[in-house]
């Protein structure tokens, strides 16, 4: 149980973000929730690729006594996290600019007023 603390942290981050996306009506707060979900996913990827007492998979001046395949963490999840961070920045910029456009057009940031509330 105690060794699963990073996975529980991932769960907490994703649930906080999901709560914000579902129950908040402000568009800026929904964008913040999406960003929190994305950082939870990044933490999940990094956590999957960690081995105990391992170093980064870089051969330049390794610490002495490192066993080469078993003493290094996985390179593939780290590379995918790198890709995911850049995609996150791009999508965040696009979302924010569309929100600025929506605010200029409608004059509000409430998602129910924008979508035409039927209640």
């Amino acid at each position: 149980m105690i060794f699963n603390i990073p996975f529980i942290a991932v769960t907490a981050l994703v649930l906080i973000g999901l709560y914000t996306v579902i129950f908040r009506r402000n568009l800026i707060k929904m964008v913040i929730g999406i960003t929190i979900i994305q950082s939870g996913v990044n933490l999940f990827l990094i956590t999957l690729g960690y081995r105990e007492n391992s170093v980064a998979p870089i051969f330049t001046s390794l610490p002495p006594g490192t066993i080469v395949p078993e003493g290094m963490s996985f390179p593939v999840p780290q590379a995918l996290t790198l890709t995911s961070i850049v995609i996150g920045v791009a999508v965040l910029a696009l979302m924010l600019s569309l929100i600025i456009h929506i605010y200029r057009h409608y004059g509000t940031l409430d998602s129910k007023e924008i979508g035409g509330n039927e209640e």
């Binding site: 870089i58 002495p64 490192t66 850049v86």
Partner: protein, 158 residues
């Protein structure tokens, strides 16, 4: 965004070249040490965004048009795809690392195990690092510059 006080402007002009040099170091040593095109490009773009915040968007867009940034980003993307297509032409498959072991440019193979940094290794990977670095610098700075400039012109009109 209007320009800030004289203290902020002086400090940012002093630290701007250091940030640029550090980012270029991260890009050019991306195949040896932690780092690469994305991270170094993000560092350089943050330095440019600091200049934008300190001097205001009107001064900055006089120095660097957004059209030139778009051109720079397209050049980076075309270089990246061209390197991949050269892999198809000289080697066998798309994204083939055709320069490794050829002793031409970045062609040496490092000895196995823990080595010291030898910058003449890696095949096409340092060239791709430079291409992606140019692309990320231009892309991120174009996003920040266009957002700041659009909000500042609307404020000035009111």
């Amino acid at each position: 965004m209007s320009e800030m006080s004289k203290i902020v402007r002086t400090i940012s002009s002093i630290s701007f070249p250091l940030i640029i040099i550090y980012g270029l170091y991260i890009i050019s040593h991306g195949h040896l040490t932690p780092g690469g095109g994305f991270q170094g490009g993000a560092v350089v773009a943050s330095g440019c965004a600091m200049i934008l915040v300190a001097y205001g968007s009107i001064w900055t867009i006089g120095k660097m048009k957004e059209k030139n940034l778009s051109l720079l980003e397209s050049i980076g993307a075309i270089c990246f795809i061209l390197l991949a297509i050269f892999g198809l032409g000289f080697g066998a498959v798309f994204f083939n690392n055709f320069l490794v072991g050829s002793d031409f440019l970045f062609g040496t193979i490092p000895s196995a195990g823990s080595t010291i940094a030898n910058i003449n290794t890696g095949g096409v990977i340092p060239l791709m690092n430079f291409a992606v670095g140019i692309k990320v610098i231009a892309g991120l700075f174009a996003i920040v510059l266009v957002m700041a400039h659009a909000s500042s012109t609307r404020e000035g009109k009111k």
